[in-house]
């Protein structure tokens, strides 16, 4: 989008009725690396691509536990995400303290949305530059929400945000109608495959234990994060997919990535 004379202030509308600063804040979310979320009737899975600024650096964590029944994946300004994480944890614990029950997802997300909206209507503030995928399980079932810097929030069967998330969304749109009845394992499989769509054309080129993390939560399943070496077994689905792509009968007989004949053989 291009600069114009109505975009300097959060408190200024454009003649078209837009507040450009909010839209610029949503751009910050699109700059973050991809996160993917999807749910079945009983579980929600989040898969994230962790960027690192250099070989020497660690990969930026994007999954955060809020309570044992809810967690988030972030895309955008990490520091802003920390503020919202702290806020959500406080809200959940306060609810537990007063009512002795886990906070319902819809109310938690509403609290985040209302807080975000405040930052869009004060001359002294700027909008939060982070989008969240909120995954959780409460008395009404498994839920996946997206929050925006604008203060809007939406519930989804499956969604993706961040860089090249459109590719992941295309994959999810193809398969989402089957998600409701899937097991947790199958849900994780789809999450990894969807996330892989976002690296197919980028310099990352493949998901590794270093740049991939996932988490899930659901019925009888408290928030569980899978990082580093533990991710390996979830990434195996990618090898299985490679086999299927190379052809049916032949691929089933061959080892994947069969190396060429050794050079010292004549």
């Amino acid at each position: 989008m291009f600069r114009n004379q109505y975009d300097t202030d959060i408190t200024t509308y454009s003649p078209q009725g837009r507040v450009h600063q909010i839209e610029y804040a949503m751009e910050a979310v699109k700059q973050g690396s991809a996160v993917v979320g999807l749910r079945s009737a009983t579980h929600v899975v989040l898969a994230t691509l962790k960027r690192s600024s250099s070989e020497l650096a660690s990969n930026q964590r994007k999954l955060f536990e809020i309570d044992s029944h809810v967690g988030i994946a972030i895309a955008g300004l990490t520091a802003d995400a920390r503020v919202l994480t702290r806020f959500m944890r406080a809200e959940c614990h306060n609810h537990q303290y007063v009512y002795e029950t886990p906070m319902p997802l819809s109310r938690l997300v509403l609290a985040v949305a209302d807080k975000s909206q405040v930052a869009t209507q004060r001359a002294s503030k700027r909008p939060f530059g982070v989008g969240l995928l909120v995954a959780g399980y409460d008395t009404t079932g498994a839920h996946l929400y997206q929050t925006c810097p604008s203060g809007n929030y939406f519930e989804y069967e499956a969604f993706a945000i961040g860089a090249r998330s459109q590719s992941a969304k295309t994959y999810l749109e193809k398969h989402f109608e089957s998600f409701a009845a899937l097991s947790l394992e199958e849900l994780c499989r789809h999450a990894i495959l969807a996330l892989q769509e976002t690296v197919a054309s980028s310099k990352d080129t493949e998901l590794t234990t270093r740049n991939t993390a996932l988490a899930f939560v659901g019925r009888d399943t408290p928030w569980t994060m899978v990082e580093d070496d533990s991710v390996e077994e979830y990434l195996l689905v990618l090898d299985a997919e490679d086999e299927l792509e190379e052809g049916d009968a032949d691929a089933a007989r061959q080892q994947p990535q069969q190396p060429p004949a050794a050079m010292d053989e004549s």
């Binding site: 303290y97 007063v98 009512y99 002795e100 029950t101 319902p104 819809s106 109310r107 509403l110 008395t139 009404t140």
Partner: protein
């Protein structure tokens, strides 16, 4: 027990003097009893608010419906119970206004009240009540209590006030895990009768509330039948005593 008096409000002006908060109850309700059943939960109380030894307000309700699945009953200072009723009604209205279909469970309502009571106690300005919470949710009965200092627990049988001393042993003897609401109503009537005979602050006009899968049902006030023609009672304590002392 005197509490809350003694510390002086500073700052000069007309407001100097000791801070006045609830130090002692004036108009009080007596016992509340409750028992969990296999198909619901029942609580009972009498309809009297006493002003010291005067039976001043003889037909008032000490039971209040909070939600379609939960009732509370209270003994202790009646004006503080009225405050609790207002507070809980306010909470339920707020919940309604959130308009998201989520309903506070009886346990959540109980815990909320606990936080209110404990918070007030920490400010040395308690709501001088013993509140019994009875609810039915997800096919299961819940029965709990919270008092003016915030002590709280859940149990199969609950009793407050004199009911604690005279009623609870009877409740415990009669309780079975498969007791029904109909049986429990009869049981509580019998125990309220005992309390009327023996507690000087309990009347024979009572009210019973039941919470089942069909919702909340709070009865009208009704009088208990009582028996005053036991022979020894009619004859007097010294009947049959031929001594001259």
């Amino acid at each position: 027990m005197k509490i809350g008096g003694g510390h002086v409000r500073g700052g000069g002006g007309a407001a100097d003097g000791p801070v006045k908060v609830t130090q002692t109850p004036y108009v009080v309700g007596s016992s509340v009893l409750g028992v969990k059943c296999i198909d619901g939960v029942v609580i009972s109380s009498d309809t009297l608010a006493s002003y010291g030894s005067m039976a001043k307000f003889r037909k008032i309700s000490r039971i209040h419906k909070v939600s379609d699945a939960c009732v509370i009953g209270a003994g202790g200072e009646f004006s503080d119970f009225q405050e609790i009723k207002k507070t809980m009604d306010g909470v339920m209205i707020e919940q309604f206004c959130m308009d998201d279909g989520y309903v506070l469970t009886p346990s959540a309502i109980h815990q909320y009240l606990v936080r209110v009571m404990y918070g007030r106690r920490n400010k040395m300005d308690p709501l001088w009540n013993q509140v019994v919470m009875a609810g039915f949710h997800d096919g299961k009965a819940t029965l709990g209590m919270v008092d003016q200092v915030g002590s709280n627990f859940e149990s199969e049988v609950i009793a407050t006030g004199y009911g604690l001393y005279m009623g609870l042993p009877l409740l415990r003897n009669a309780y079975r895990p498969d007791i029904t609401v109909a049986e429990a109503k009869k049981l509580l009537e019998d125990i309220m009768r005992v309390l009327f005979y023996r507690d000087a602050r309990t009347s024979n006009s009572i009210q019973i509330a039941a919470v089942t899968k069909d919702g909340v049902e709070i009865s009208e006030f009704y009088d208990l039948e009582t028996k005053w023609d036991y022979q020894r009672f009619v004859d007097g304590a010294r009947s049959g005593d031929v001594s001259t002392w």
